[in-house]
Amino acid sequence: MNTSNEKLMALLKEVIDPELMVNIVDLGLVYGVTINEDTHKIDVNLTLTSRGCPMGDMITEDAKQVINANYPDYEAEIHLVWDPAWSIEKLTERGKEELGYF
């Protein structure tokens, strides 16, 4: 992962899942980020812990706004993806710790 991607992932840690109270990066919900310097576009592939998650709107909007606020010259687009489906294995060590998983 290059430094711009790392910076983006660090930014996305500001987005918290309101049900679990853990950020979406440590939950493993962010499947990938790409920055296109030519078109000034940022694409984020994001999933949710379950389909039909009632707070899906809040998470995707939050992610978009966080990027917009920090990259005012870029256009952020969030792609909701369901394949592969989210599973416990996608949690980071820190995410597991915060959920009291150990």
Binding site: C53, D57, M58
Partner: protein, 425 residues
Amino acid sequence: MNQIASQNAPSPKVVVPHFVFGSLTWLAVSLLIFFNPAAFTQHFFNPLLLSITHLLALGWMTMVIFGALYQLIPVIMEVRLYSERFAIFSFILLGLGAILIAYSFWHFSFHIMLFVGGSFVVVAVIFFVANVLITSYSSKKKNIERIFIITAAIWLLFTVLAGLTLAINYAFPFIGISHIELLKLHSHAGIAGWFIQLIIGVSSKLLPMFMVSHNLNTKKLTYAYFLINIGLILGVVSLFILWKYGVIISVIMVVLGIFSYLLFIFEAFKKRVKKQLDIGMKQSALSFMVLVIPLFLILSLLFDLDMLKNLTLPLSVAYGSTIFIGFISSLIMGQTYKTLPFIMWLKVYRGRIGKVKLPLPKDLYNEKVAVAQLWLFAIGFLLLLTGISSSTNYLVSSGGMVLLLSVALYNYNVLKIIFHKSKNK
């Protein structure tokens, strides 16, 4: 982008009145319990208990379930609700019907007001069932939860039609079977066919979602579905033709079906990612533990054990009260904290998400009040159950008093959530 649930959500104007009417009715019922303990310490076919039961079943439980379903069906079936107008018609008729029926039973009057009230409820349910069927028809999700919800809605229609027929038969007898046997048929179609089956359909989707539990064995739900529905049909036919063994087999099947569902919920609980249960889930967990009581009670009542001979009537009332108050009411009270704050939060803050720092849905209610509500409920219900089982009026009344406090706190939080004003203009 794929559609997400909140984009299918109905207007809060459809959902919220159900919660207000329901929680105020529950408050009124707890007052009635406090002032009329004798309703619970005599034969269950008495005017006060009939009135209280119908207020609870229609004005509180079914009312809130209808409201919540209009919000949850889009989550479960990933499709918009067919008609908000149907939902409003249904709300008005169900509310009026519940009041007219409860008033008539209170005065033990099997006259025009009861039949009008009963007809209102039947039409309300027809609107509801039509809404559910047409909505689910347009859904591509053919999962077991959807089948449970559709089947439960059909059992509800059967239950209210049977109820109205029963009332007419009491005034103008035309069915040659005792009212008590017919009442058992009506009440169990409602309890197992409507309430429990609906709860299974909704909770088997939502509880794993709230606890973040994956890789669950849904075969347990399929077994539950067939055991409960075949058992219920057998039970209804057996009660009607007075075939005792048929009734026994049917009860065993339904109880096994419910256990199969409880095993599914327990598996979800064990596999949960979110280890800490919040207050809404704690009250829900209490409800599931309480559900085991009536499952044993009905088996002991069914086998007519000699040692329980003198306790048959109090235990019958205890059985019904445990299901209505200990399980269903308690589960609704807990799950209110998992649904209503989200509904109001989206209404108040939609459009400003991500732009400013916003409170979380759980900040819309007072958690300390919710904790007190749970403890008071547990104590109040224990007192009530002890009072009913020992036919002691003052214990029932004390239970009613503590339950009243719990329900008052619940109402406080419901109103606090509904009247939440934006913190960030």
